[in-house]
Amino acid sequence: MTIEELESIRNSKRQELDLRVNSNAPGVERHILVCHGTGCTSSKSPQILEEFNRIIKERNIENVRVIMTGCFGLCSKGPIVIIRPDDTFYSQVTPADCEEIIEKHICNGETVDRLLCQDVDGTLVHRLDELNFYKKQKRIALQNCGVINPEDIDEYIAFDGYKALAKVLTEMSQDDVIKVVSDSGLRGRGGAGFPSGKKWEFVKAEEGDIKYIVCNADEGDPGAFMDRSILEGDPHGVLEAMAIAGYAVGACKGFIYVRAEYPIAVNRLEIAIKQAKERGLLGENIFGKGFNFDIEIRLGAGAFVCGEETALLESIEGKRGQPRLKPPFPAHSGLWGKPTLINNVETWANITKIILNGAEWYASIGTEGSKGTKVFALGGNVNNVGLVEVPMGTTLREIIYDIGGGIPNGRKFKAAQTGGPSGGCIPEQHLDTPIDYDSLKEIGSMMGSGGLIVMDDSKCMVNLARFYLEFTVDESCGKCTPCRIGTKRLLELLTKICNGLGKEGDIEDLEELANNVAAASVCGLGQTAPNPVLATLKYFREEYEEHIKEKKCRAKECKKLTQILINEEACKGCDLCKKACPVNAIIGEPGQKHKIDQSKCIKCRTCMATCPFKAIYDE
């Protein structure tokens, strides 16, 4: 494909797709966009798409197209259907609703009110941009997600796809490209925040004719799903960025290392690579400029440590994913000993926009030390669960309350967890910290890849630390002793405390051991594994002390320290709790007072929810 051909596809297709981004687009055509991210797909969005198509065909309706798209972000309201150009936002749609949407909305121009979603404050939302969830967001990495069909390269081209690659190959030298990336201030979005331009520069400076480009899509932080959503919603954005980097550093081969647990993302990547090759946008002599670049997918198999760059390289080579000692860094000696440039998915997703809009534009967004935007996977005890992209420097309070809609069920905010198993907990007093790489570090957490889990006051912080340590013990590769044995010992101490067997001195032991593991481990996994312990100790020390001294868990989450009891005075013997109990732990004849057999009770609290007399309580 020549650059002229690319432009002609862009121009004709862009006009056709104008209604996707312009709510005043002229014409009678309507597009029904159906989210096909993992969340919505799990709740049957492919059937919704099929059903729409069936009805349209059956009724012979013209000027309507049904399109699959990537994630819209508001996953908790899925499956989501958006109608353009009206921008009507339908939530929790089922295949049975399709008939009504077509009949009312498409044929008669009325909205189907019962499928509109309610904002957290109770107002009925008609249009996408009326949702508080979207108001403070700025979408750069996610720009195309939810707008284009990720399986159709022409739609990507319509929205300036492969234009950045064409620009680099015709107008820019290798050093020009690297300078733009450096000047933009972009830092690695995988967690560590290393300046991306620097990395590119190092790899470019290496001698040698074989170099590699790698995309780290081994999103291992449980509760983080931004990389997956980018790959599912806009796979070409990543491919194009990798090709640009290939040109800039002198590499002609790229690998995408992606989790096998993400079948939809893998499938869309495969389709995207195939289409790009067919169009000559990957392969040999791209745009006739003598530049060759090819990309292959490599599957991971569920090892958190493979998100560490050198472990990832080992895994691509077909070995156990154990980290290598650094130096040498991958820029010098990476894949099969060759200079290798590794960036995370979200980092790649910013590149084409930086090339097209310029370094200054990008650097104007964000804070002094952290430029641009960051995508967070907002989850846990928050009303709007989903993907949010905000400028660096946005405060946690804005993300959790303005965008996330606050804490559900009338409970109180307790802590926000960032950085996954490597990060820390942020308590209420730091909610107004503007988030960037440096400010998070200062308050004892880290940016990490962007998981942001909100916790209400029903969560026990000691148990949370235990949960994360259980994770790191599972995922420690075993190469170095401090991590392999240290994390295990940390977990034992935490388990003991959660079970009410803690004793004086345990907290001091935890602290000492945590600091040693952090100081002596080989790779990032071990160095950061104690963070959940240290951060919870820093902000919630009194909960540890209560567990140890008073054998009390204030959140009533630690099972050994909690009892579910029936208030005999209030119990009417209605027997409902007994029927509801999944483990038959409740004893008592109908009409008689009931009791809970503590040895059987699993603290699921089903009985508490069932009792019509509120006679069951926990303590």
Binding site: G39, S76, I316, N381
Partner: protein, 164 residues
């Protein structure tokens, strides 16, 4: 490996594994891909498949076994006809997936990673399937059940109990 007489099951496993192997060059870099595909085919990685793959890639069996045991997705134990995966990612954990796991173990009488004696059910845990918006989730043979409660889990399991 020296020629030997294999029983029918092993011979078939070997043939099928070889068929997968041949889609790839005999290069170690493809080991993970081959293992992923073989596991997809058999549901786990039988010993015969491991031997065949090691042979094909000219690697010691110990190396292949080492890689298999390193990655949590690979398993050398067969799974039940209905495999119940419970997500223990942070978002699901915060929303109570541990209770569902406890319930599954209590009802089926097996631990994580194990199969019921009749081969009908097995339980495993996964770390985040990315459906955090639906947390907590559990998955039975690829079907995702979201916004799960212990009660709903019980009802779903009852349905599967009735099946063959």
């Amino acid at each position: 490996m020296a020629e030997e007489n294999l029983n029918c099951a092993d011979q078939r496993c070997k043939d099928e594994t070889l068929e997968i192997c041949k889609k790839y060059e005999a290069d170690r870099g493809h080991l993970m891909a081959i293992l992923n595909e073989a596991q997809e085919k058999f549901g786990y990685l039988p010993k015969m498949a491991q031997i065949t793959i090691a042979d094909y890639l000219n690697l010691p069996l110990a190396e292949v076994y080492g890689v298999i045991t390193f990655y949590s997705r690979f398993t050398t134990k067969p799974k039940g006809k209905y495999n119940i995966s419970i997500c223990l990612g942070t978002a699901c954990f915060v929303k109570g997936s541990q209770q569902i796991l406890d319930r599954a173990k209590a009802r089926l009488g097996v631990e994580e990673g194990e199969m019921t004696p009749d081969g009908k059910f097995s339980i495993d845990t996964v770390r985040c399937v990315g459906a955090c918006g639906l947390a907590p989730v559990f998955i039975i043979n690829g079907e995702v059940y979201g916004r799960a409660t212990v009660k709903q889990f019980d009802e779903v399991l009852d349905e599967y109990m009735k099946k063959d």
